[in-house]
Symmetry: C2
Subunit: 157 residues, 2 copies
């Protein structure tokens, strides 16, 4: 199974990018993993917050058509313990599906059209995190989940 993390806008901080890349590399030892960036809509060209979300939403929905399972990372979703997240990955592995895509929205989050189209939603935290921080948190949890599945001594309950 191929796992993709789809994000909107580049990771701007080089330190953040380096920490994310480190986990991406470690994840790659377990699964075929890809981190993809969609261009973000600039808030500067007279677009309202809602227009930015709508435009980014169209791109997201277009990109998602390639994947069999899609999961939004969003604070509207259900919170999960790391063990349960690992269990959900294992379940996806067992499902026989070929690809799963996790999606992190842009600076203003997802449009309603995206929420409607993607019912599977996972919350990493009840707190609102910057969309750049969510990337790091997600790759750490994905690595943790894979370490749990593969019985590596990374996770302590």
């Amino acid at each position: 199974m191929k796992i993709t993390l789809l994000t909107v806008g580049k990771t701007t901080s080089k330190e953040m990018k380096s920490l994310i890349d480190d986990y991406v590399q470690r994840i790659g030892h377990f699964v075929n993993f890809d981190l993809k960036y969609l261009p973000n809509q600039k808030h500067t060209k007279n677009l309202s917050e809602k227009e930015v979300k709508t435009a980014e939403g169209l791109q997201i929905l277009d990109a998602l058509s390639k994947y069999q399972i899609a999961v939004l990372l969003d604070d509207r979703g259900s919170p999960m313990r790391s063990m349960d997240f690992a269990g959900s990955i294992q379940k996806h592995f067992n499902s026989g599906q070929k690809s799963i895509c996790y999606i992190i929205g842009g600076a203003y989050g997802f449009s309603e059209a995206v929420y409607q189209a993607v019912p599977k939603q996972l919350s990493l935290s009840k707190m609102t995190l910057s969309h750049q921080m969510v990337r790091l948190l997600f790759v750490e949890q994905l690595y943790r989940g894979l370490a749990i599945i593969n019985h590596l001594p990374y996770h302590h309950e």
Copy 2:
């Protein structure tokens, strides 16, 4: 009011340290803030996980005696939305207390003695995060909370 974040063990990654330092500096524009490190117990010198936690717990309890309010950052605690966390900071400001200390445990978490002594517990995520990652998440949430209190356009609901 002075806010302290007490952690066990140095931040090992220089990229993580740089991201944390950036938020520490931004937080410093709003409040008197200090990030303190306690030495961690090395797991290598034949100490069990429990012995490491007990030894680190004694250090934590000793360090905490200086502060009027103490809050453990731990996944046993209550999860909070960012707005509610901002509200809790405002409430501490209004309380007339002089100092608050948030505490992040070591690699194996807190000893039972620490849980018993510090009933205030806040969960940043239901997921288990590395104790290094919790530092970054906390300083981002503290900055976000202070931005909310000071009506800066950092947080989008």
